[in-house]
Symmetry: none
Subunit: 224 residues, 4 copies
DNA sequence: CATGAATGAGTGTTCATTCAT
DNA sequence: GATGAATGAACACTCATTCAT
């Protein structure tokens, strides 16, 4: 599975409908090529000529549609985040939370974790690009925080508060502490899995995730 | 607070003693300037001419001391990680763990978290550079994993296993799950604090960290 | 007489028809300038910036057409040798030999010598460049030997063997000894003429060449 | 046999006696290294730092003794030619001519050719350097012509005229035509031997040279 | 006198951007 | 609108030459 092509990536479906964003076929070709080249080399080491070649257009054409190289990056990433990655993340969270209001929290957290894991695996290269370039392009940083981080956190906070009201969850800790902690536990586990191991991606790690959820719910201390 | 200059950064103290690494004053100047420029622009977008200007030397001088631009990066980062960042992290962990064997775990975890927080705050820009460039330079990746990540994790695992034997900590979860989870909770909290807020760095957040530790030890679930 | 510009040089007529070699005007300009600069300074001391200036193009343009400086040299010299210098030499020899089968050898040798002299005079600077750079570029060396030296020698051997069969020429010496010797006599005479004297090129030296041919045919020894 | 080191080369013996030329040990080291580097890379592609390294001195020292890189070249080549190569060539010719006044010309020419061949073989790289750089440095050109070419030719002319007076050699051709022709025959034979073949240097080619001398003396034409 | 670190102009080469066609 | 040749400033890197020690 090639996670470098917008057309093959789950995340890119939003862009496949050009009318959505008033993008012509040609512009879409360019952004698709840009995604591939930027993710492989990084923004700075990528060249517009390679993007042009991969897009099957001339270099001149690129600059007819996008004023600068930076514009290509932002024109590609910002809508991707705003229209696809953000909504997709938020909606899937919302649905899982709403649909499963009566499921044990443990089950819901597992679903969320597995879904996040799939997302991270499928979009590894893209996420790496986004996080790297966010350092140098504040526009990007703001979109990520505003459209993905903040909104996702909101949904998780909703979940936690829901369960706090139900009495399933401690009420003496602010919801955001619980949310960020859970997120941190899961993400660090996933990253270490991706970075440190060569285990094939398919291997089922549901058991390991369940251990983390158990830890989150019941704590590390010996039960009194 | 300028966290871009080696001379102002705690982490760089190891390098400030040139004899340690056989670095001349001039070489040190260059690496100091390189840190500033690489940190600001990233490796690829940084130019040797700007490094030269900031170091107050000619461009030729840079290449008398370092064969390529990439060599500058690695000559700066690898010793920094290997000789300073790594040992510093590992030793402070080791000491805190050994010295406080009889302190409640909660206290030890607080000390560790606060110390990590200080480290992260003081070396923010440097850490960002290291993690970004680790993507493109496997040498760097290996040093980080080998000299910092792996060794630090080992110390924390020692701590957890010590407390498991004492019966303070559950024994039905592998130590590494506990370690990575705690690490994830704390780091994501700190990162969100750094990225999302404008609160001045000085503000005491001991209370918040204690909440996270409470969560880690006692879990999110309502006590039965 | 400017023997440094392709456009003024007989040898370059083949290149002046760009279609022959798929060379655009601009590429031809660059190669023309390259010939001038390489000839004047030698390959190593010539700079691409001077070639650009003389070609009336920007330095970037040069590298759009030729990947490296060495490529410029070879793109200029190899076709010149292969398509122009080589065929021209070989064909004119062949024609002189075939057309004048019944002329006395003395007359044929004179024609050949005069033609070689004209060639050498017209292409002095170019020949000097080729022979100099052949030391450092084996590709060039091979082309010269294969396309000019070997093929020209073959024609002369044909002539000699033809005359040996007719009984005009001694048969107790191998043809190649006769050929290389004649060639050596003539070339050294011409080089010394070019290098050592200030006589204008136009001066008729037919008498002197005839003496050399006489020597070649009849030997230096007093007739018995 | 390393023909790149002055100390191993017949030609360099003249320079081994520093007092001859007021050269200190250090200067001699530099020139020795310069010879090696210049012959390998050519003047332009050679670097002063490599010369310094091979000479075992610092780069600064080089420029204390020789104002510019070009000065090194000329300081090395000009005395080499003037004091060693020239005299050696001329003297050996003179001796062979004077000592063997009564030997058949054929024998004398053979001795001369063999001696020239040895010289050329022993000093191949040096000769290539000299001829190449003579193009760009008129000082060099003048020394070669004045100290070697002209003086050597004079000796050969003396030989020829001696034999003309004895009635061994035709008197209807100017001596210089005979000399240059003989020289051309022999040199082109030797060059083609060096350039075109891989036969080991040691192989005896006395027979082939004798054929050339036979040709020179008796001519190519069938004897009437 | 010797050193070698420092220099800075210059090298071949790249690349984002422009613009005539 | 699309092209791709042309640009020229910038790039990483080199090297003959200088000069403080």
């Amino acid at each position: 599975m090639d996670d470098r092509s917008l057309s093959d990536q789950p995340i890119s479906t939003g862009l496949q409908e050009p009318s959505d964003l008033q993008l012509t076929d040609k512009q879409w070709n360019i952004l698709d090529a840009a995604l591939a080249v930027f993710t492989e080399k990084g923004f700075s080491a990528a060249t517009t000529s390679e993007i042009a070649r991969q897009a099957g257009v001339s270099e001149g054409t690129i600059f007819r549609h996008f004023k600068t190289k930076k514009d290509i990056l932002l024109a590609m990433l910002v809508p991707l985040i705003r229209n696809t990655m953000g909504p997709k993340s938020v909606n899937s969270l919302t649905q899982m939370i709403v649909k499963n209001e009566n499921l044990p929290l443990r089950e819901v957290l597992l679903m969320i974790a597995l879904e996040r894991q799939e997302f991270l695996t499928d979009n590894q290269a893209l996420l790496r690009l986004i996080l790297t370039e966010a350092q140098y392009h504040p526009e990007l940083r703001e979109v990520i925080i505003g459209e993905v981080a903040y909104k996702s956190q909101e949904q998780l906070i909703r979940l936690i508060e829901q369960r706090q009201q139900k009495g399933e969850i401690r009420q003496d800790l602010p919801a955001w502490v619980l949310v960020r902690s859970f997120f941190g536990m899961v993400v660090v586990y996933m990253l270490s899995r991706v970075m440190l191991t060569k285990r094939e991606a398919g291997k089922d790690n549901r058991e390991e995730i369940l251990k983390i959820i158990d830890l989150f719910l019941n704590g590390a201390a010996m039960e009194k």
